[in-house]
């Protein structure tokens, strides 16, 4: 347990640096409020609609879904890679089967066109 405490201390100090910088800035900054400054950036043109009202490509979502699949796969692979020496040949064959199933999924995603943007 005590091996994790330095990470906790380091994390807390890392969090406190930006908070301290923001706090210092509260006192040092020059304030000249102006309604034009707080508008969304549009090169000075009037803003037509809210940012989230614009449409954006569904492909961002497809990539997120693919990421979940392949990232869960790597989560399984890391402990396996460390302990393969103990698992022996059985562990190797087991994981090659697992990877083969994933390759099938990869080929399917590729043929559906999910891996390219066009």
């Amino acid at each position: 347990m005590d091996r994790y405490i330095p990470i906790l201390i380091f994390g807390l100090i890392c969090c406190s640096i930006p908070l301290a910088m923001l706090a210092i800035q509260l006192f040092l900054q020059v304030r000249r409020p102006n309604p034009a400054k707080t508008e969304a950036y549009e090169c000075g043109n009037p803003v037509k609609k809210e940012a989230l009202a614009y449409r954006f490509s569904i492909r961002y979502l497809v990539i997120a879904i693919l990421f979940v699949i392949f990232d869960v796969e790597t989560v399984f692979l890391f402990p396996w890679a460390v302990s393969l020496g103990r698992l022996g040949l059985f562990g190797l064959i087991e994981m090659v089967v697992f990877l083969a199933i994933l390759v099938v999924g990869y080929v399917y995603a590729y043929r559906e066109g999910a891996l390219t943007w066009a």
């Binding site: 091996r3 330095p6 380091f10 800035q25 040092l28 940012a51 954006f56």
Partner: protein
Amino acid sequence: MSPLLLALAVTLVKIAVVLGAVMTAVAMMALIERRFAGLIQDRPGPNRVGPFGLLQPVADGLKFLFKEEVIPDEADKWIYLLAPLLAFVPAMAFFAVIPMGTPFTVFGIVVEPLIAPSSFGVLYILALSGLSVYGVFLAGYASGSKYPLLGGLRATAQMVAYEIPMAMALLAVVYAARSLDFTVIADAQAGTWFGVVPKWFVLPQIIGFFVFWVAILAECKRLPFDLPEAEAELVVGFHTEYSAMKFAMFFMGEYAHMIAASAIVTLLYFGGWHLPFAVPGGNLGALIAFAAFAAKTAFFLWLFIWIRWTLPRYRYDQLIRLGWTVLTPLAFLNLLITLFTCRAPGVN
């Protein structure tokens, strides 16, 4: 002094040294990047503040402190404030598990040059690298403006897409060293083949190194993959609406991320502090080890800058296709090759 208090004191001193070194390196990188750009583009670069412009980062920092904070009307205020912290803190927290050399002795205390010796360093790095996506995504979402929104979406898709080949390239190294501990991984690369060629993982895993390096460029959002910030299309992408210190945090987070990435590449593929010849023991050896580690890390930081000012930017569809249909299969191939050729020392 009780052993617990002593351990705490040593840890706090180490944290102070690491933070000081990283913050200085971040400031210097901001200057070196611009000076090097000047060198490549045949112009002086910033050279007015102090000798060789060395005080330019100080001037920039002071300017950031005195600037007005502008929070847009449309912004989701609390998320808007949280996003720069999420970009900065994970990038700094990388350094908790990065070993920077061999143990040395001060006042009879043996000190390891890393903050937290951990057997899960690689997983910690992967987790933090996943966390740093949030900073960028939330910045884009919370700004309430369309350019940041698009930049944030692009950054999210790019970072998660390139995390797959990165993790798979890492996996081959973990397999070859049979450990998630960076110290063990670096020590697995000690020694030489035929007395001259260092046993660095870059040689048997040249494909893995290539994939990892390209994925790192995309993870750090550096050219040729700085699509999230493409200024010709998106102004500056996800931090368009950020000003003053909050902008500086994104900036510092990016440089801290680059420094951490260079150190990680050094540890994983270039033997960390190991050199292809014998070094003396004791504190002198520790000093040489640290110098070797720092020099290798500096080389990769320089490579980051060199690539940035040499290559043009990718198009977004090219970026996604490269990640999924080139790098991922290459990383997989590298894993298979390692699986069937590599026998780590002392195992099997």
